[in-house]
């Protein structure tokens, strides 16, 4: 029995999406920008996809821009918005983000630093929640944009987005959130959140890889980051990926309709896993115990190496991920920047695995995982204790 518990890395296509995606690939060959029948046939589906996604997150049709995924959406939000306000707001040279963002934001912000922007990485609490008081001090009239992730990809902690958007509104700066890990897991009423821009990626909610979207609130200035045929209102050139966006829209519609049902199911399974951890002892749950995406667990085990635990579980057909690459490797990026920012002791960072549940999991799989987790941790601790 294979047990996939790495749904924060990617999710498998839902079976109905596999069928639908294949059908669209063959039935909609036209370029959505062509004026003939094939083109317009594809255009209709493209428009339906955009409207469906807009409805799922409670925004308007023309506030959605399709992208190749979360990384492009994040880059477009940061670089595109800054480019658009460069001349109109030359005094706004500060870019604020958190110290636990995904690399798509962290590396973009670092690049902006090299371009002359003042960059600020806000600290987080031990629970992985961004320090609001620090943001209150930093978000000011010199701030151009603030980008804080909706939910963290390693520990699942959900950030106080509504509170941050209020701070940004008061300071007159733009607010972007990377919602890649939250989309399809947490109800998204984007208007209610008050954000100016929001990124999402289809493969995190059972859609295909290579497709995502950026929500951009009406009136938010944005310039394209690359140029071509002027697709997506001139903001994102490139032939429309009709099968990709259609499958993404279909997947989002399905998962959005079952958020509460899945939340309850994941709660039962995470309780079961955490009860197993209590029996194992010497286990720490990282991140906020309550404000987290359903089904996300970052677990640190004392006295063992996370990569070894991942390897042992993998031998028994269980897929989890680690928070830390082997630091002995000369090319290693080292331990988790997220857990480091949360002041997690090195001993625990090194012994961390990430377990993220998904739609394809079953009661039987979670029972099997719990048994194997206990067995492998015991075995590895025996190696270290003799």
């Amino acid at each position: 029995m294979r047990v996939y518990l790495d749904h924060a890395a990617t999710t498998p296509l839902l079976p109905e999406i596999v069928t639908y995606y294949a059908d669209v690939l063959s039935e909609y060959p036209g370029n959505a920008s062509s004026l003939h029948y094939e083109g317009q046939h594809s255009r209709q589906l493209y428009n339906w996809a955009k409207q469906t996604i807009a409805d799922c997150i409670h925004v308007d049709y023309d506030e959605i821009i399709f992208t190749s995924g979360g990384t492009e959406a994040d880059n477009m939000a940061l670089f595109g918005c800054l480019k658009a306000i460069k001349n109109s707001h030359p005094e706004r040279k500060k870019v604020i983000t958190s110290s636990i963002e995904h690399e798509a934001v962290i590396e973009s912000v670092k690049a902006l630093g090299k371009m002359g922007y003042e960059i600020v990485f806000a600290p987080v609490s031990a629970n992985g929640i961004v320090e609001i008081d620090y943001l209150k001090q930093q978000i000011d009239e010199k701030t151009a944009i603030c980008s804080i992730m909706f939910a963290n990809n390693e520990v699942g902690t959900i950030q106080p987005i509504r509170q941050i958007s209020t701070l940004c509104q008061k300071a007159g700066c733009f607010f972007h959130t990377d919602a890649v890990q939250a989309m399809g897991k947490v109800e998204q009423d984007v208007n209610e959140l008050g954000v100016d821009m929001l990124s999402a990626s289809a493969h995190k909610f059972y859609g295909p890889k290579g497709v995502g979207f950026l929500y951009i609130k009406k009136g938010t200035p944005l310039e394209p980051v690359f140029y071509g045929g002027g697709h997506e209102g001139g903001l994102r050139s490139g032939t429309e990926n009709v099968p990709g966006v259609a499958a993404m829209a279909k997947a989002l519609k399905i998962v959005t309709g079952k958020i509460e049902e899945k939340r309850m199911q994941y709660q039962k399974w995470t309780d079961q896993i955490l009860n197993t951890c209590k029996q194992i002892q010497g286990v720490q749950l990282n991140g906020d115990p309550d404000k987290r995406t359903p089904g996300s667990l970052s677990l640190s085990f004392s006295g063992i190496n996370g990569e070894a635990l991942m390897g042992m579980l993998s031998m028994d057909e269980i897929a989890v991920s680690t928070a830390s690459a082997c630091r002995s490797h000369s090319h290693s990026k080292g331990g988790s920047h997220v857990l480091t920012a949360m002041n997690c002791p090195l001993e625990f960072i090194n012994g961390t695995i990430r377990v993220v549940l998904g739609w394809d999991n079953t009661d039987e799989q979670i029972d099997y995982f719990c048994d194997k987790l206990m067995e492998k941790v015991t075995l590895l601790r025996r190696l270290s204790n003799g």
Partner: protein, 125 residues
């Protein structure tokens, strides 16, 4: 796993040899990776100039566990002089790992360092 780790490495990782402690060991050899807190401790039982028995405890990644297991097999029953001539390169080659991983060489380096000190100390006496 299969692509990242060689068959030989997996063999040692999933079934590490000579795990444990020796109560009346002659000396201990410790290797430690300060950057991540991983480490290995060898218990060496020496009779004459021969390493009669070896056991170890380890907290480490799959590579470190496999390298410790292989090291223990390579040194057990050998003369100290033979162990001192062992090249870490052999561990890398047998486990199919490139030399950028220091966790692979750590176990043998720790043993050789301890044996060198032990030999020097004995010579002084």
């Amino acid at each position: 796993m299969a692509e990242r780790y060689s068959q030989e490495l997996m063999k040692h990782f999933t079934d590490p040899q000579n795990i444990g402690k020796i109560d009346n060991s002659t000396l201990a050899a410790t290797g430690f990776n300060e950057s991540d807190g991983d480490g290995v401790k060898f218990y060496l039982k020496i009779e004459g100039n021969i390493l009669q028995d070896v056991k170890y405890t380890i907290k480490g990644c799959p590579r470190a566990i496999a390298a410790s297991s292989l090291t223990s097999q390579l040194i057990k029953g050998k003369r100290i002089s033979e162990i001192m001539e062992l090249d870490e390169q052999r561990i890398f080659e047998e486990l199919g790992i490139d030399q950028s991983f220091t966790c692979i060489s750590m176990p043998l380096e720790a043993v050789k360092k301890a044996l060198k000190e032990y030999t020097q100390s004995n010579q002084k006496e």
